[in-house]
Amino acid sequence: MIGPQTLVFLLIGASILLILVVVIRPSITASREGKIIAFLALFIVPLVAAGIGASEHMERSEQTQFCLSCHIMEPYGRSLYVDDPAYIPAAHFQNHRIPPDKACYTCHTDYAMFGTIHAKLEGLHHVYVDWFGTPMNPIRLYQPYNNRECLHCHSGARSFEDSPTHTAMMGDLKSNKISCTTSGCHDTFHNVNQLGHVKFWKPTE
């Protein structure tokens, strides 16, 4: 089965061959058919190839490996392997409560209209700051973590809904009056400054 990446490479190869025809023999544009070939080769096909390439890059930018490719994010990647269920990201990652290959994106995107676009723009900002500016030390979220991101998965889940504590404060959780992450209930996150003092989980091959 041909994967999407192979298809992109095939399309790129075909586009280059088509363009080469026009580059080597531009005189073909004297005829009507030649004009059509030139229009396809120099306008339509490159647009399609660039669009598919951009889509592939967007898809890849959601992967954990992509986020961790920046040196500054390395400890955050390590924190996903902390052997302590109190570490919320590690527990979610290790128990596949989130897709492990999209771990960062799943929790740090906005589950709102245009949330994906917002997350991508923030990602571009991260890259800009990492290369041309001075990143925050320690890294902090731009805005407080929104309960909406937790409730996107947990709302409606039996283990969450059956908890009398959650039920009693559901309204406040939904309106962000009480934070899931900072009100003392689930407040252990990446804690990268503590990574020297914790045990790590080693996944079996």
Binding site: P46, R60, F66, S69
Partner: protein
């Protein structure tokens, strides 16, 4: 016009090659090279092609 078509084709080939290369890796650098370098080649190639159409029409009229 033919020269512009050639140049436009070469720019687009360069853009496509940058795209192909950028897809060989999965990191921020490859993404940015696709967006910035590839984007410049693609945009200039396509705009030059469109300009060649307009300028040839002007010459004909």
């Amino acid at each position: 016009m033919l020269r512009k078509l050639r140049l436009s084709g070469i720019l687009l080939i360069l853009g496509l090659m940058v795209e192909a290369l950028s897809l060989c890796w999965n990191n921020a650098l490859s993404f940015m090279s696709f967006v910035v370098v590839g984007g410049i080649f693609f945009a200039s190639g396509i705009l030059l092609f469109l300009y060649s159409l307009v300028s040839s029409n002007e010459a004909n009229s």
